[in-house]
């Protein structure tokens, strides 16, 4: 067991119309990292690499010290992938899915699964195909929690969810971090979510990591004023095409103090 729950080491990958170049970052155990970036920036591709849907990349990805490509069963045993694309038996109930898929996990605990179903108020009698998007995400979370993973990988779990459920979802994530010492990597477009719970923020654009920093460092940098180049990159990222020149560095710190770092970034984009 290593201290790093997730480590990307110089990962590069190229398609004809998209490439990831030299992606390196890591996440320690017990922390939550928010992955932000535009649509098509490479967030989901990073998740696909972790899932081994794409294998022909250079570099290496380690989850708790295990190589994603070479030790796939072990990696999948300690990782929970949550996304709309995840495959389950849609014609079966939640319990049916647990019976079919659960026993393959070394730490599978059906009692925890049932407890989570009750806690998240998920119907046991309905088939998965009848679940709403929110309920499906909650089901995935319940399933994930029942096999006690060390790393939760979530691809835009809160997208399109109502604010009440989003709040609830983030509270559950906080519980996971506190009680299970697990780590969470989740991508989102909602900067408010990150302000509330993220310990680290990684920003990706056009397959390139712009920065991967803890929230405190990021806040300090905003308050002190970013390096001109970095400011430019962030402005470009958020404004994308409709960027307007903003020179007042005070805007950063003022908006940060009011709305938090990530909200400040978004605010910046609107200027």
């Amino acid at each position: 067991m290593t201290e790093k729950a997730l480590e990307f080491q110089h990962v590069s990958f190229a398609w004809p119309d998209f490439s990831l170049s030299d992606v390196s970052f890591s996440l320690e155990r017990g922390y939550l990292m928010g992955l932000v970036g535009f649509n098509g920036s490479g967030k989901s591709t990073l998740f696909h690499l972790m899932e081994n849907k794409i294998r022909n990349y250079t570099g290496a990805i380690y989850i708790d010290g295990y190589d994603c490509r070479l030790q796939e069963p072990k990696v999948k045993d300690i990782t929970a992938f949550l996304s709309e694309e995840q495959q389950f038996f849609y014609e079966e109930t939640a319990e049916g899915n647990a019976d079919f898929l659960g026993p393959y996990y070394s730490s599978w605990d059906k009692e925890t699964f049932r407890t989570c179903l009750d806690r998240f108020e998920i119907s046991r009698t309905h088939k998965l195909k009848d679940y709403s998007r929110g309920t499906f995400i909650k089901f995935q979370l319940a399933f994930a929690m029942a096999h006690h993973p060390l790393l939760y990988v979530m691809d835009e779990p809160t997208a399109g969810l109502d604010p009440v459920f989003r709040y609830d979802f983030l509270r559950i994530l906080q519980d996971i971090l506190e009680k299970e010492n697990a780590s969470v990597l989740f991508s989102t477009h909602n900067t408010g979510d990150l302000d509330r719970i993220a310990d680290y923020i990684t920003m990706i654009d056009k397959g390139r990591i712009l920065f991967s920093k803890d929230v405190e460092t990021l806040s300090d940098e905003f308050q002190a004023g970013l390096a001109e180049n970095e400011k430019f990159q962030i402005r470009q990222l958020f404004c994308k095409g409709r960027w307007k020149s903003v020179t007042a560095a005070d805007n950063y710190s003022n908006s940060f103090q009011k709305k938090g770092t990530c909200a400040a970034l978004a605010q910046e984009a609107k200027l």
């Binding site: 899932e51 849907k53 796939e72 069963p73 072990k74 990696v75 999948k76 045993d77 992938f81 995840q86 495959q87 389950f88 038996f89 849609y90 014609e91 049916g96 019976d99 079919f100 898929l101 026993p103 393959y104 996990y105 070394s106 195909k129």
Partner: protein
């Protein structure tokens, strides 16, 4: 996880699927059709005629399909490969696939034995010797059907590596 555990889980999986009962009924019907064919050919003394071999081959293929399909396909607005569902589950892909092969072989041999005995019994009413190619038609039909099923399973299992 050992091979035996995968086999156990596959058996449980098959039992739990709602549609399994219908497929088991299908296996029963194939058995009845085979028996009817045997009675007919016994009466006509035509157990050594070539259509009997084709009849066996089709029956084996259908019965094996009924047996193995719950383990390799699932119905969701059309049939989809079950292997898709296990992509992010910590399985040893080779053992997972192997357990399906083993179950298929086990079923095929159990299904073949009574057919072979009946075939031998039917051949006694003809001039064809028991120890001949014709005598082992059920075995050849079973082997051919297994071979086709294995190819089909391999094709469906590509989802695991995608």
């Amino acid at each position: 996880m050992k091979q035996s555990v995968y086999l156990q889980l596959d058996k449980l999986h098959r039992k739990k699927l709602i549609s399994t009962d219908i497929r088991n009924l299908g296996i029963g019907i194939v058995g009845l059709v085979l028996f009817s064919g045997f009675i007919l050919n016994l009466g006509l003394c035509t157990m050594d005629h070539l259509p009997v071999f084709s009849f066996y081959a089709v029956c084996f293929l259908v019965a094996q399909s009924f047996y193995i399909s719950p383990l390799i396909m699932v119905y969701e607005e059309g049939y989809v490969s079950i292997f898709k569902k296990y992509k992010n589950v910590p399985i040893n892909k080779h053992l997972f696939l192997q357990s399906k092969f083993i179950l298929l072989m086990k079923f095929s041999v159990l299904f073949f034995l009574p057919v072979q005995l009946l075939h031998f019994a039917g051949l006694t009413r003809t001039s064809t010797p028991l120890i001949s190619i014709t005598g082992f038609w059920p075995a050849f039909a079973m082997a051919g059907a297994v071979f086709l099923q294995l190819i089909f399973i391999r094709i469906m299992a590509r989802e695991l590596w995608r």
